[in-house]
Symmetry: C2
Subunit: 331 residues, 2 copies
């Protein structure tokens, strides 16, 4: 690859001049600037951005830690974050923790060692104290950390909407199937609480069944779903707290032969899979959450004031697995 | 953040000694080494890896260009690549081009300017000449480039298997629905050719319908699918050349009310959505393709000999939308 020296020699100026052009310093004629850029292009010369970032305060690198990139929720979120970074002249350093606390910690250290300007951490599993001590600008997605800006959707409202849709579809015995959530301080816990509160408010019977929190992809659900349903034989309405769980349920319980005739079903997230399967769902504004996270992080990098919590609205998408208009109860 | 100087002062040694410990140079006692690492940990000191990578030949950074990260195929592939990089001590720089040629070129330049040790480019849209001239180690996934190692699945075999499965399920009038592919030199074109050859070999009637190649997510398919089917009214077996297309078809044509009774359906890729919808598919070994890509790229970085083309096996996953055992033809 061509060096700065090669470019200077070809243009017939000093290395200092080329360096000044690159860094937009000193007074250089437009003619010389044009010549330098033309030769740089011809010679395939790239100023070493890493070297430059070391002498700059802002590296324009953003680190992103997600647990999984092959889970559609994180895929869509990452795509939105990457797009927003690109538009604002930042580059994204993507890391996946596999949901392991040790690896998440290690990645956070690694990102700092690589001189990132800020870090976005999504669905952290590491205790919040590990982040609170850090001096680097930080934004948390889907989890709260004291004194760190966080972004989530209105999970409570989502739970309420799910219950309302099932009840409006004529359900009398509601069942929530979700991932076991360890702490009541997690925003997603509010999803459960909203559902529960609405069932209690309207006097409907409801049960809750939790699958292993390790099983975010719901792989074990397929094997166990019939056993689960046997335990709650009166069930006529199911709230699956993620679309991935909803799709597994839909598939294991007999697709459109059983839905919506025997069971009504509402998922959560608003992923494409719910569209493919025709499942009603509570949609999170995932892309907007990603864009907002980048916007807030860059404000933090530039030391602007930001809010402590951002809660974005959710919305019901009605498809084939719920049907408030007909409202025919089937036992 | 603590500096090298702070660490040296706290340990009571010179900066040179700390630097030697970090770079594993000179003869330093184990006792001093242990002390330095202990203090570095206590003081939260991270050696600046970017600065270090500049003085090293190998930055241990790998660039990855994919068109989309929110498409499950690329999500699964990226997850496998990230995991493989992590295990081998490399970090991944993820970029998405949105399928735009200009942006893909720009990203490729940007990655080189950021001192990456090598680049993985998946489903490139930029002409191969742009990559051939490059001096940086490169591996291409899903596309071939002269003199550059490429990785793909056995697309031809996949097309043959899809046709065989539909024919064994009793289909007489086969229809291929795929993305319009611009060049016959693309590996995915072989998917079509394999299907076509097997139909001809067995004397079955077949048609082909192509949707806009821009529409990789098949969003427009939902609106048009009934019109498409009207044009081929005898159709009893469909090969959708991606699982995303297959899922859209499945949803638009009436889920399990129509499949497999009226139509048999086989997808391609082996993504989770085919499992959720119960769709038979030809599975690519996506994770293995990602792992292999990293392995080959690191071999290139280390100037080891690698093959020019790697073709990985595909396999049929039989689900509800095909049924060779019953073989009842329905018109």
């Amino acid at each position: 690859m061509a060096t700065l020296k090669d470019v200077a020699a070809k243009v017939g100026v000093s290395i200092t001049t080329v360096s000044r052009v690159l860094n937009n310093r000193g007074s250089i004629s437009q003619e010389t600037k044009d010549k330098v850029f033309k030769v740089m292009k011809e010679m395939n010369y790239f100023p070493n951005e890493m070297a430059r970032s070391l002498s700059n305060k802002n590296s324009h690198l953003i680190g992103l830690i997600v647990p999984y990139i092959d889970h559609t929720f994180f895929g869509v979120l990452t795509a939105a974050i990457e797009e927003a970074c690109y538009k604002l002249g930042y580059k994204l350093f993507l890391c996946t923790s596999g949901g392991h606390s040790d690896r998440e910690k290690e990645l956070f250290s690694m990102l700092q060692a690589n001189n990132v300007a800020g870090v976005l951490v999504c669905s952290r599993v590491v205790e919040s104290s590990a982040y609170k001590e850090s001096a680097i600008p930080l934004v948390s997605i889907e989890r709260t950390i004291d004194d760190i800006p966080s972004i989530s959707c209105d999970n409570y409202k989502g739970g309420v909407l799910a219950a309302q849709e099932l009840i409006a579809s004529g359900c009398e015995h509601l069942l929530l199937i979700g991932n076991r959530i360890v702490s009541e301080h997690l925003p997603a816990y509010l999803r459960y609480k909203g559902f529960r509160d609405e069932c209690q408010r309207t006097g409907k019977a409801y049960s809750e069944h939790y699958i292993d929190s390790e099983d975010i992809f719901g792989k074990n659900l397929d094997k166990n779903v019939k056993d689960i349903i046997k335990r709650y034989p009166l069930t006529d309405g199911i709230f699956a707290t993620s679309d991935v769980l909803a799709a597994h349920l839909f598939n294991s319980l007999g697709n459109s032969q059983e839905f919506p005739k025997r069971y009504k079903l509402v998922g959560f997230d608003g992923l494409d899979i719910s569209e493919y399967c025709g499942i009603s769902t509570i949609a999170q504004p995932i892309r907007q959450m990603g864009e907002l996270a980048v916007d807030v992080l860059i404000k933090r990098i530039n030391e602007s004031l930001v809010a402590e919590r951002y809660i974005l609205p959710v919305s019901l998408i009605r498809r084939k697995t719920s049907c408030p208009q007909t409202s025919n109860k089937i036992k």
